[in-house]
């Protein structure tokens, strides 16, 4: 199938700003699904609120546009009732780490078979550039005009600590590896988290002297490195990308099915 078979063309050109990374992530999701050959009708995309959540309107799968930060809660309910479906949960950093932080850690703890795709642009884009839990120390935001003093979360360590069984990081520059990682994350039986560094040129970029989408993608190209590379030893400030963990662990829906079986037999 062609990319156009996976989108709702009537909503294009989409509403994201020129150069917004979210469109690149959406394109990578489509290509990963195309490669895996999953039927459109077997996929549900559940999103929360924010620029990232618009993905739900543009993709031609079953889609649920839910509440800010609550996408994983809705997705958990849906997955438990229809475990045969493939669920993708695109979120923004505000969505996933701030208001939705609790849902994120508990979905990770339960190891429920969902794929969370966290488009991290280090800012709240839709509401006008407020700082988020992933805004860096010293970065500028509408709510941090003199520089942010809150240390940011390391999303990868956060979800590793909470028990996610598949955790990866990639960027919009590294789009072929993003497609590859998404394929693995979607196939993985358990809770998968893929953090994608995704540019918001309009708010984060403009405020932090990374004026254009191209500048920001050059930053991802030059300031990230594969996990465990020699460059990382020399330059500890580089951000690692790749798959941090991929482990088979008891999956929540399967455990729940066993429990029902057990209760029925008594």
């Amino acid at each position: 199938m062609a990319v156009k078979d996976y989108i709702r063309e009537r909503f294009f050109p989409h509403l994201w700003c020129p150069g917004c990374g979210h469109g690149i992530v959406m394109g990578a999701m489509i290509r990963a699904i195309e490669k895996l050959g999953i039927q459109k009708s077997d996929i549900v995309v559940v999103s929360g609120i924010g620029c990232s959540s618009r993905i739900c309107g543009y993709l031609d799968f079953h889609t649920l546009h839910t509440l800010h930060g609550r996408a994983l809660a809705f997705a958990t309910g849906l997955k438990l009732s229809r475990p045969e479906l493939t669920l993708l949960v695109p979120m923004g950093d505000g969505d996933a780490f701030a208001i939705g932080g609790n849902h994120l850690i508990h979905a990770a703890r339960r190891n429920i078979d969902l794929t969370a795709i966290i488009m991290n642009n280090n800012i709240y884009g839709m509401t006008g550039g407020q700082s988020s839990p992933s805004t860096g120390y010293g970065d500028l935001a509408t709510t941090a005009p003199y520089g942010n003093i809150d240390p940011s979360f390391d999303p990868v360590n956060l979800v590793l600590g909470a028990g996610a069984s598949f955790v990866a990081r990639t960027t919009t520059y590294h789009v072929t590896s993003m497609i590859n990682i998404l394929e693995k994350a979607i196939t993985h039986k358990g809770f998968s988290v893929v953090e994608v560094l995704s540019q918001c040129p309009t708010y984060y970029g403009r405020k932090n002297r990374l004026a254009t989408a191209v500048d920001m993608m050059n930053f991802y190209k030059n300031r990230t490195t594969p996990i465990g590379s020699k460059d990382k030893e020399k330059n500890p400030d580089l951000i690692e990308r790749g798959i941090f963990i991929q482990e088979e662990r008891p999956e929540y829906c399967a455990e729940y099915a066993k429990l029902i079986e057990k209760a029925r037999s008594q």
Binding site: A2, V3, K4, I7, F12, P13, H14, W16, C17, P18, G19, C20, G21, H22, G23, I24, M26, G27, A28, R31, T172, Y173, V175, T176, I179, P201, T212, A213, V214, M217, N218
Partner: protein
């Protein structure tokens, strides 16, 4: 790397927002923004059909055909 696709980029001018991502990251410098700030295959002979412009366009405005 991207799987080799046959064909050359065809740009949907209605959807292109002129962000310049495809132009900047084309390994062969085959693309350019025109006077309307739309991407355009300015040097077709240079294009090696790698498909990276198609994958990186945030607006799904490029298709290799």
């Amino acid at each position: 790397m991207a799987k080799k696709k046959k064909g050359k980029p065809v740009i949907n001018r209605e959807w292109c927002k002129g962000c310049g991502i495809c132009v900047e990251f084309c390994p062969e410098d085959a693309l350019a923004l025109d006077e309307m700030e739309k991407s355009n295959l300015a040097y077709p002979d240079k294009c090696n059909s790698c498909g990276m412009c198609e994958l990186r366009c945030p607006d799904l405005a490029i298709e290799l055909r």
